[in-house]
Symmetry: C2
Subunit: 378 residues, 2 copies
């Protein structure tokens, strides 16, 4: 699993003369191995560190706490992968995850050459981990690798597309529920909990869910988690859903209405819908990300509205927002195999808001839409 | 808010001659300030680091990304607290959370004395943060503070008890739903999603939820997240719920049955219930944690069952499991103001399991039960 990702990484490291590296960013871990630890209640107190990868001479060694032994085991099947398990919490001893991890790392690295370049993702490497490394390899020369893999992650592999398609199918279930139940008197959290429940029942397991579920009359009605705000007659509800499945994110947005959409709603909805269609029509290999951004903003401005302050879109994969970001400064050219979100909106603060969002796979000559939730006016 | 926690910390640091420190552990951040960032979909890509606290001469300076400005603002109201905000993601520039954080830290520390002791929580301090510190304070002497605050966290403040009581009330709502709906044909995830929905509707906001929801016929039927396993006639379902509210964890467990409990269920349930009653009767100041552990295990053994392999209990607060851990090696004596969970169980692997769990506040002469979910046989 995910051998293509590791191949791309080896090629990059070799170009820079690096044959040892420590990867610590959770997104890197998932991208390189397909393994993703659960996150719904935060970090695991009983482990020494979130999962790490020690890379040496073409081998990717995933170091995880015993809790994740089963979920990580698949990496042992691959010739370029290996899993090493250390013990976290037991009732026999005081918390020993950190010393156990340090011992494991010493064991791993002591066979390594004591000096020379070692690549390292610094943004998620803790002092406890780096100090253990420095004890064993005191003469090593750290080469920061932060951000190096982001460009490699832009082009999705076939394996990733399978995961993403499953995930985009899942959010359809959530949107169908929201579309059906929205009515005056329900609160944002009421809609959200029904949507989340439907998604988890469909998946047959827990599924982390983002992003927004907000009534139009919120002053900051661009985004936010659901609260106890009640839907009123003539109210809009922006429902922006991201599920995380197999460590991959989906994304999607639609706007629903508590009662029959009024004239303002209809006009906003039509304009945003046309902006999204226009933006989609621009997608093809070679087009710059900021061209799509600029054209879409211009479309909204030309229609006589204040232009949304958020991005026009973004890539999606092991993280919810990643390259290529569809923003004013980004000159990155689209390539076949990228998956991007587009999400124009119009917001009348404290009154109403409409946002629509779809996912697209960049193809050889255009775009394939990956989201199929119903975004039409009722 | 949380001034008592900061006072305890200042006292401890002064005893060790430390007047500067960097706190990085998320549990420390919540405990010292009452601020807790949301966690349901993992870390925020757009920040430079999770929240940090720079402590200097009695002042606690919380450094957070702009997304959390509102939720963290209360700390500015306190004479010993201050909030500093740095910008995370904007559409105008490439991701700049990390450089913005580093600039903020330089600004903060440049007025500091260049040499001497600086306390530091190493387990959550990333290299990016520590390198920024070392540039400004190259002659500083790191004093690792990992674990120093855990003992201070054991005695709950009045403010914390208010938060915990609200939280324990919330899980009652979840258990009432589980008790009502459990029946053959439902899957673990079906029960879970109804429970989670009811809790969020009651709270009027998103609420992270742990821990276990497992049918008795799982081979590893001690714990685990809900999956698509279907409840069958004559099946048990262990429902162990932890909500996180205001940054504080609750905990609780009950066992429900798909149909009328059979003779085995009744016997197991009665034994576990008596074990819990016995364990509770031992709670009072001065009793050692491992005495309760040992007595409870002995009770299960004397009843003729294999003794559970997990802890007998644990403290609860800004983390789900904390000191005092009720485990074989722990000689910590209970003190008034501690909040502990007790959770004996009996497991017949692949067949059935029963666990019951309550929370107790240690009082001057015994225990006050904080959980009130119905754990009786139907």
């Amino acid at each position: 699993m995910h051998q293509e990702q590791r191949k791309r990484t080896v090629d990059l490291l070799k170009q820079h003369g690096i044959n040892r590296a420590l990867f610590t960013d959770p997104h890197t871990i998932t991208w390189l191995t397909g393994f993703a630890p659960p996150i719904q209640t935060g970090s695991n107190l009983f482990e020494g560190s979130p999962p790490l990868i020690w890379y040496e001479d073409g081998q990717f060694i995933l170091v995880v706490v015993n809790n994740y032994a089963t979920q990580a085991a698949h990496l042992d099947q691959d010739s370029d992968g290996k899993v090493i398990i250390y013990m976290g919490y037991t009732v026999q001893d005081p918390l020993s995850g950190i010393p156990n991890l340090q011992l494991t790392m010493r064991e791993l690295m002591k066979r390594s050459v004591a000096r020379g370049k070692v690549g390292i993702e610094m943004s998620h490497c803790t002092l406890l981990v780096s100090n253990a490394m420095q004890e064993i390899l005191p003469a090593m020369e750290f080469v920061p690798l932060d951000g190096w893999l982001e460009p490699l992650r832009m082009i999705k592999t076939d394996e990733e597309l399978v995961k993403l398609r499953q995930n985009f199918a899942l959010i359809e279930v959530g949107h169908a529920v929201a579309r059906k139940i929205v009515k005056p008197g329900l609160r944002e959290i009421d809609v959200w909990s029904e949507v989340h429940g439907a998604i988890e029942r469909e998946a047959g397991c827990r599924v982390p869910l983002g992003n927004d579920c907000i009534v139009g009359y919120r002053q900051q009605n661009i985004g936010g988690w659901p609260k106890a705000h009640e839907l009123k007659a003539d109210d809009s509800l922006i429902v922006d859903l991201s599920t995380i499945l197999h460590g991959y994110w989906s994304d999607s947005c639609a706007t629903y209405f508590a009662t029959e959409p009024n004239a303002t709603h209809k006009k906003l909805h039509q304009t945003v819908s046309e902006a999204l269609d226009m933006a989609r029509s621009l997608i093809k290999p070679g087009v710059k990300a900021n061209h799509i951004d600029q054209q879409t903003r211009q479309f909204i401005a030309d229609a006589g509205y204040n232009v949304y302050r958020h991005h026009t879109g973004h890539g999606v994969g092991v993280s919810g927002h990643e390259e290529p970001r569809i923003v004013p400064y980004n000159e990155t050219k689209l390539q076949s195999g990228m998956v991007i979100m587009l999400e124009p909106g119009i917001y009348l603060p404290g009154q109403t808001g409409v946002r629509l969002e779809d996912a697209y796979l960049v193809t050889a000559d255009g775009a394939e839409q990956l989201t199929h939730h119903d975004k039409r006016l009722p």
